[in-house]
């Protein structure tokens, strides 16, 4: 049990839009529930009918096979009916606006909307216009709460706690919603967060979020419990943030030599998909002793089951009235 206290007895919010605003107890509640599903998912009896009759719509404005599949599987394992809508950015431009789409879907009375959008704040905007539960599956560079929760569950399973750990988040912080959600979660739970990246990939005034900043990888990894690598999001970059992929890997890619600075039992994490040879060397990515990257994917389904369960149950209790 965490020093941050026991799990909350219920999840009090209508949506899950971000880690911001969640208490340690609420985070623990989701993780405890997710741990239950993690065990169940490894058993022969993976499915339940706890959300039978519920409709979950996955509305994805950005392509993502991994997250979409994870959410779809999570909802199906709970017995919900699932519809996937992948809306390309180009069809958004000629078609209806985000709010019109939200209103249209809302008229079909879903119980939960899982939304991914390329713009920060878009999921919150949408949540204001519908009366079902909304789950943020990533909005711009803002938040990706289920990713931070699945990372936390993975860490907790290996380290037994989420407090008093030193976590280095390395790489493309500037373009990363994963980094923001993880900083918020780890700070809330009482761990220390370091950011390691070249100065161009460190957003302005991020030190005010209670993190330490390092530009040198070896220094930043020193005595860390967790090394969390981020994907270099070349598709989001306007202008020159890094001179070349080769130079980036040389200074900021994770390889054996740099990893040697972290604690000997430090975990290696990555939200995927990995750019092998860009931010991470295959040798460390595939190290079965240290890398928990595949377990993160596994915990993703469990965490999303827990979140969907809590949100849809809240929605059923209130009938959509906040």
């Amino acid at each position: 049990m965490s020093v941050m206290g026991p799990a909350a007895d219920h999840y009090p919010h209508p949506h899950l839009l971000g880690i911001e605003g969640l208490t340690p107890g609420e985070i623990t509640l989701i993780l405890d529930r997710a741990q239950h599903y993690a065990e169940k998912n490894r058993s022969a009896d993976k499915t339940s009918n706890i959300l039978s009759g519920a409709t979950v719509v996955n509305l994805f404005y950005e392509n993502s096979t991994r997250t979409l599949t994870s959410f779809e599987l999570a909802a199906k394992r709970l017995g919900a009916d699932v519809i996937n809508m992948t809306v390309g950015t180009s069809s958004v431009k000629k078609g209806e606006t985000l709010i019109d789409t939200a209103m249209t879907l809302n008229a079909m009375n879903p119980d939960a909307l899982v939304v991914r959008h390329g713009d920060s704040g878009a999921v919150k905007l949408l949540s204001e216009k519908v009366n079902c539960a909304v789950l943020n599956a990533g909005d711009g560079r803002h938040e990706h709460p289920t990713q931070a929760l699945l990372d936390a569950l993975t860490i907790r399973r290996h380290k037994g706690r989420l407090h008093r750990l030193t976590v280095a988040i390395c790489g493309d912080i500037a373009h990363s919603r994963v980094a923001r959600s993880n900083i918020l979660l780890l700070n809330t739970m009482g761990s220390r967060v370091r950011l390691v990246a070249p100065p161009t990939l460190i957003p302005s005034k991020i030190d005010r979020m209670g993190v330490e900043i390092f530009h040198d990888m070896e220094e930043g990894l020193k005595d860390c419990d967790i090394v969390m690598m981020l994907r270099l999001q070349l598709e989001r970059m306007e202008g020159s943030f890094i001179p070349s992929v080769r130079e980036y890997f040389h200074f900021h890619g994770l390889d054996r030599a740099k990893l040697a600075n972290a604690k000997p039992d430090a975990l290696i994490m990555h939200p995927g998909p990995m750019n092998r040879g860009v931010e991470i060397d295959s040798e460390v990515a595939d190290d079965v002793e240290r890398s928990v990257i595949r377990e993160q994917v596994e915990m993703g389904v469990a965490v999303r089951m827990a979140a969907l369960e809590l949100l849809v149950q809240n929605h059923r209790k209130t009938g959509g009235q906040p």
Partner: protein
Amino acid sequence: MSPAIRAKGAGKKAFINARLLDPVKQTDKTGGLLIEDDTIIKSGADVTEMSVPEGFEITDLNGACLAPGLVDMRAQLREPGFEHQETIETAGKSAAIGGVTTIIALPNTDPVIDDVAGVEFIARRARKVGLAKVFVYGAVSKGIEGREITEMGLLHQAGAVAFCDGVKTISSARLLRQALSYSAFFDGMIVQHPEEPELSKGASMNSGELATRLGLSGVSPLAEVIQIERDLRLVEMTGGRLHFAHISTGESVEVIRKAKKRGLKVTCDTAPPYFALNENAVSDYRTFAKLSPPLRSEDDRQAIVAGLADGTIDAIASDHNPQDADSKRLPFAQAAAGAVGFETLLPIALELYHNEHMSLLEVITKLTRTPAELLRFKGAGTLNEGTAADIVIFDPDRPWKIDPYQFHSKSKNSPFDGRLTQGRVLRTLIDGREIFTEGA
């Protein structure tokens, strides 16, 4: 439309027992004003109930303020081209309620005001509408594309009062140099939107902790001062007249303060959001507070107030920028920037007086006399005898809550929605005609 906006016939009118704010004589005292048809024939302390000549319709203002109508040197009217957002008529009504009697409109319409026909079109439309007096800025570059200068001399002759490229920075140093140097022969003024375009590309708010938390791309406040510093060199080189619009940062105030001390021909204005709000207004992705330049830090806001108080900032303009709901009800990065401003210009500016940063006369001067002087208007921003009877009568203390749905502008995008404020326009007169009467 509202019955409040209608023209009562001109004629002989007397206003007495007013708190007379005269920005030309720099006096603030009890007095009155006589209007005959469209002209002020007398103003001052000696206009009293006893002294009003025979035949004048007397209105006792019971101590309400009387000042020249506001001269708003930066507004977008959206006509021609964007009539779903605003027209010269709806803008005129909105201005009337705000006490604005002279508007200088930006040229970024469709088509762009970059030729004589455009200038004449606006003048003709405004005359037909018969509300606020509307003047235009001519574009500095053809199509506001930032390449070749327009026929500035001809535009000026046709009535363009100064030149700017709308909401775009004149970023080419060569173009700005030519425009400054060419327009000097007819004492033309160039108005710059100071924001270094490369540094601010793709950004939707002020950079800093809040932008980082919200995951939005931020523009550094330095993008403004970098542009200003370069442009000051060009002013020095050419001897032209340059005016910086809506300055928003403390660094800008500092640099302009020094340049003025050195005797450079530079001036600047700001708009109410920059002295009344800071970047926290965009928390929760509130797109109505998305402006260009973006709202800045609290330190910057205070520096803008100080710049107004010490005279570094010459004028206050509304920066009226109507945007329809569909342009604002979008994810923050995609939403249009800008806010409507006519109907909140006076009350928000009066906060400077209520908060004791400036005297009432100083606030009114920045809304009337200084913009009129910058634009070389002899007959606006004054209560002098023989000038047009464009006046505003207001109660500086009356409290009210801003509700954009009551606005007469076609667009409702105000960052001041719900703000409790003080100061209401009671009457607006243009050329002696009462075009707005509060509560009527």
